[in-house]
Symmetry: C2
Subunit: 234 residues, 2 copies
Amino acid sequence: MTDIETGPIPERKRGSGVKMVYDLLRDEILDLVLPPGSPIDEVQLAERFKMSRTPIREALVRLAGEGLIDTLPNRSTMVANIDFLNMHTFFDALVLMYRVTTKLAAQYHRPEDLKVIRAHQVEFAAAVQAQDALAMIATNAAFHSAIADAGRNTYFTGLFNRLLDEGRRMLRLYYQSYDDRLPQRFVQEHDDIIAVIANRDVEEADRLARLHAEQIVQQIQKLFAREDRLDMAL
Amino acid sequence: MTDIETGPIPERKRGSGVKMVYDLLRDEILDLVLPPGSPIDEVQLAERFKMSRTPIREALVRLAGEGLIDTLPNRSTMVANIDFLNMHTFFDALVLMYRVTTKLAAQYHRPEDLKVIRAHQVEFAAAVQAQDALAMIATNAAFHSAIADAGRNTYFTGLFNRLLDEGRRMLRLYYQSYDDRLPQRFVQEHDDIIAVIANRDVEEADRLARLHAEQIVQQIQKLFAREDRLDMAL
DNA sequence: CCAAAATTTCTTGTCGACAAATAATATACA
DNA sequence: TGTATATTATTTGTCGACAAGAAATTTTGG
């Protein structure tokens, strides 16, 4: 076994190191390639990306700032756990952000925003059609994130995207038992939401977003309850 | 000339570097000691804190993650500007967070939370009494932050604290023309808010928080409008 | 005298190395 | 044999140095 480096990899531009590491680690964390609690080794990452520890560390500082990893001083750093005990705080925040971002989208969206939103909805519908749970999670998040963008409030979009990321992580945990029939309803609800946004009907946007969000929360809770019962049985 | 180190300074513990730099820079940015647009020089900071650039950079990465500084690649980094154009998005977010955190405090607070909140209110009243505008800003933020803590939702407290920081920065800009008579009203409103929280009256908490937040927003807008007219005249 | 190219200066991004702090292991002693 | 102590190993936090990019300056050519 020879360790010949066959990679056309080493071509890397100057400022791209941290971003590359950050993006990739972020994806791996959200996709549970690195499950919660996984140890994160700086030197290992340095070898893997063929760079020094300095840019690795800066990427880790960023991830820590977003709460995706936990760093104990002078000790190991690891992927942040999912806080199942305070799940309701997550749901509270998620529902509120669904509502407010949809409302603002109804107020402030521009024609080109609707195109983007509709494109994401097409992808979501395709994922549902294909019964691809992972794709559903991703495209649903992208759809609502696009709506939030149309609302043009960076404070809300910032928090909302964090919440969607966290939700993506939680759903990955349980996606095996994802119910593939119910989401058809979500496709219809998405279409309704698009319609009220296009109509600039703020009140109705709030109402639909709230119902939609609560549907999703209920679905997630049902998923967790089912899994909890399984855990109990073990 | 002998280079004997006469400093009692160099006593610094191992992991404390980044936090020290982060805390101090953050304060200086929020207090406008470093006004928006100020260039941030890594080597200068390194000399000032007598440490290498590595921990300085990690502190800067953290600050950038919170949007307090802007970093252009391969170019200088500087204190983030205040976005006066999209001020209304700030107000939207601020009012909503005032409301939701106060509501949650009414729901979930514990007896010891009220003690902390009341202590902050005492300090706020003292600041108003002393007509110390800077202290008013700080103690008002601490008061509402304490209420948010009692609500026990880290997603909301996180965003809310960021908003309060940003508000602190904006008000510093204009505190010279701060009207010292109106805030007496805020003291009363704070007392009312404490009362409804203690009563666990969620609906009324929402109503009072909303009125209070809108009062504050109006005051800030009046401040800015006045200053704008002055700018026009120049 | 002016514009384009070359050079210098300055700052940032990255690196390899070292020392402190902790964890793991081995040793001594009752 | 069990526990306390000493030693080793591993990993983190920090450092000084160097090279790449961009801005500032100088030089060159018209």
